[in-house]
């Protein structure tokens, strides 16, 4: 997926880019509305993350201006949380909004929800052994049967499919699965990995435990 991030706070921008890159998304960064227009003129995007208060104007004005010719879904990042602001952003054509400061897990969840709502054409399915995994829809199809996965199972499977053959530590997985303010122990990861193993049983992929280091997904045989 290709994202355009319009955000003038450099540190926040870098953190968002870093986090989205972990999921394999390409992110272009614009620090102002004029930069954003330059990027939009040169490339097509799957999703735009738009800050409200930018040095050269209000993000919502930009949204209202470009909504007519812009098909791309937009999530507004805002430090303004008033009821009227929220309604205003959605009225102006944003697909969703998220209030700063936010948890990256929530940002990811909202991106996914918006892409799922708008998506269809942009759907990318991943071959997983003998099965097909659709991260956006959160489904796993195998032998004519499609099962729906839970949110955390989707996240976990996504991380594994992006890093086939790599060892992923429990701590790495925790960062991706849980909100940062959730005080969960690494045992929780074991629970979810166990659950996922049952889901993909017989599909020709396997999650191995690498003692003391973490987990690894092998795309090979049983």
């Amino acid at each position: 997926m290709r994202y355009l991030l319009v955000e003038d706070n450099r540190e926040l921008a870098e953190a968002i880019i870093g986090r989205l890159a972990l999921d394999g998304h390409a992110v272009d960064h614009a620090a102002s509305l004029s930069e954003a227009e330059d990027w939009l003129a040169t490339a097509g995007y799957d999703l735009i993350l738009l800050d409200v208060m930018l040095p050269d104007g209000d993000g919502r004005d930009f949204l209202a201006r470009s909504r007519a010719h812009l098909e791309t879904p937009v999530i507004v990042l805002t430090a303004r949380s008033q009821v009227s602001d929220r309604v205003g952003a959605l009225d102006m054509g944003a697909d969703d909004y998220i209030t700063k400061p936010f948890d990256f897990s929530e940002l990811e969840a909202r991106c996914r929800a918006v892409l799922r709502r708008r998506g269809g054409a942009a759907r990318n399915q991943v071959a997983l052994g003998e099965a097909l995994f659709d991260p956006l829809a959160g489904t796993l199809s195998h032998g004519g049967v499609t099962i729906e996965l839970r949110n955390r199972e989707i996240r976990l499977l996504e991380v594994f499919t992006r890093n086939p053959g790599h060892i992923l530590s429990k701590s790495q997985l925790m960062d991706r699965l849980f909100a940062q303010d959730a005080d969960v122990t690494e045992n929780a990861i074991e629970v979810y990995v166990g659950r996922l193993r049952r889901r993909i049983d017989g599909m020709g992929v396997r999650i191995e435990t690498v003692r003391g280091l973490g987990y690894r997904m092998e795309m090979g045989g049983p």
Binding site: N9, E11, L12, A15, G18, M53, A79, R80, S81, Q82, V83, S84, D85, V87, D96, T99, K100, P101, F102, D103, F104, S105, E106, A109, R110, R112, A113, R150, N151, R152, S171, D175, F178, A179, Q180, D181, A182, D183
Partner: protein, 455 residues
């Protein structure tokens, strides 16, 4: 103390003037009538006296006269009054009532003089004419007096006066009615302006553009100036609040970002624990700031609610969709079981109330559970019930949880400002509804009901 209404003042003033005019006109009519009646009597008396005087003649040195019938018949025209007369040649009575009072002052011959006197206990009016009749040695002044009681005159004047009084009262009544009408008519533009202002919505601060009488122009233009200033000051304070929120949240966002980055690079569990503590504190601050703003907004909007038809089922579906990603982070399913339930209210505020309740439900629910939103109607009430599988409300007094900044005893380490339920309760109360909290029957999970009157 309330000052008197302009309408009443104007009516009273006009009625006062009408009363004064009525009394004056009554007085005038009465006195004119009196005068007219008196003058008529005087004329008749004078004519009668003259008729008698014309029969005076001298016969063999003596003064003779005839009393023509007509002289008295004309007097009969005025009611039942008694008539007296006296004809005297000098000091000698020729005929008539001797004791009739003598006219005051000596009249010039040929001229008629009038007197008012009493005779036999009654008021009389008397006309006197003196003629010189040649009898004997020289001319003798003969005085002819004709008098009449004044009962008829008094009755006529009284009758006229009564009629005048009736007319005056009628005039007064009509004038008061017209005054009230005039007062209302002249105040109508004022009332129209007042109605136009009060019909407006809470946020409608556009200037009033309507034709107004010249006298109301200053009022209208100062009203418009006031609205303009009010609008500016509301915009300023809204901008200020938004700006303040932005100023607070932006650095908080940076702190949170840094802490998250640090959390990923730090290996030590104790350090991680501390960093999570920082993140929680940041979340708490930003949530509290947001809810304080929401609380203020709710208080502001609740004072003058907009009332549009809202279907609670639609509201439940939409708000659930908006919070679905948040719920998904904890693998919480949001299930909506709704039948249509139409209420009247402010959709933005109702959404805010539901959002706060649902947010709570998601926050306090364990992972991998279901939150059910149920919309139904019972009697004349629409109910939206949010039921989670969380720890319930604990043992404390349940209703106290809607108090400002009050948090339950069993909230554990979960971040919260204690304003969410207060906001929800305020919104519902402003809509004439109520917020009902209870622990679900099996003792597990919380049941929050938003009850609103059906439209």
């Amino acid at each position: 103390m309330r000052s008197w209404s302009i309408g009443r003042r104007l009516t009273l003033l006009l009625a006062g003037v009408a009363a004064l005019l009525s009394v004056l006109s009554w007085g005038m009519v009465t006195s004119l009538a009196q005068q007219a009646a008196e003058r008529t009597q005087d004329n008749v008396l004078a004519a009668s006296a003259t008729t008698i005087a014309e029969t005076l003649r001298s016969e063999q040195g003596e003064v003779r006269l005839e009393l023509p019938y007509s002289a008295f018949s004309m007097l009969g025209a005025i009611g039942q009054d008694r008539v007296f007369y006296r004809v005297a040649a000098g000091p000698d009575l020729l005929t008539g009532y001797e004791d009739l009072p003598a006219p005051a002052g000596l009249a010039t011959p040929g001229a008629v003089s009038f007197d008012t006197d009493t005779y036999g206990g009654e008021e009389i009016r008397m006309a006197t004419i003196t003629r010189l009749v040649l009898a004997g040695p020289g001319p003798v002044p003969v005085t002819v007096s004709v008098a009449q009681t004044r009962n008829g005159v008094a009755r006529i004047s009284a009758e006229l006066s009564r009629t005048a009084a009736l007319l005056s009262v009628a005039f007064f009544v009509v004038a008061v009615g017209l005054s009230a009408f005039a007062a209302r008519a002249s105040l109508r533009p004022l009332n129209e302006i007042a109605a136009a202002v009060s019909r407006r919505g809470p946020s409608d601060l556009r200037p009033l553009r309507r034709p107004a009488p010249q006298e109301l122009e200053p009022l209208l233009s100062s009203l418009n100036r006031l609205m303009d200033r009010l609008g500016q000051s509301i915009r300023r304070s809204e901008d200020f609040i938004a700006e303040a929120a932005h100023r607070v949240r932006t650095p908080l966002a940076t702190v949170r970002t840094q802490a998250e980055i640090a959390l990923r690079t730090v290996g030590d569990e104790t350090e991680k624990h501390r960093l999570r503590g920082i993140i929680r504190a940041v979340d708490e601050s930003s949530r509290s700031a947001g809810q304080l703003l929401d609380h203020a907004t709710v208080a502001f909007r609740a004072e003058d609610l907009s009332r549009d038809p809202v279907d609670l089922a639609d509201l439940a579906v939409q708000t659930a969709a908006a919070l679905e990603p948040t719920a998904a982070m904890k693998d919480i399913r949001l299930r909506v079981e709704a039948e249509p339930a139409q209420v009247m209210g402010d959709a933005v505020l109702l959404d805010n109330a539901l959002r706060n309740v649902l947010d709570n439900a998601i926050k306090y629910s364990p992972e991998d559970t279901t939150v059910v939103l149920r919309v139904d109607t019972q009697g004349r009430e629409a109910r939206l019930t949010i039921r989670d599988e969380g720890p319930g409300l604990g043992d404390g007094p349940v209703e106290a949880l809607t108090e400002r900044f009050r948090r339950g005893a069993n909230t554990g380490g979960i971040v919260g400002s204690g304003l969410g339920l207060t906001i929800a309760r305020d919104v519902l109360q402003a809509h004439g509804g109520r917020l009902h909290l209870q622990t679900a029957e099996e003792g597990k999970g919380t049941c929050v009901t938003l009850a609103l009157p059906l439209s």
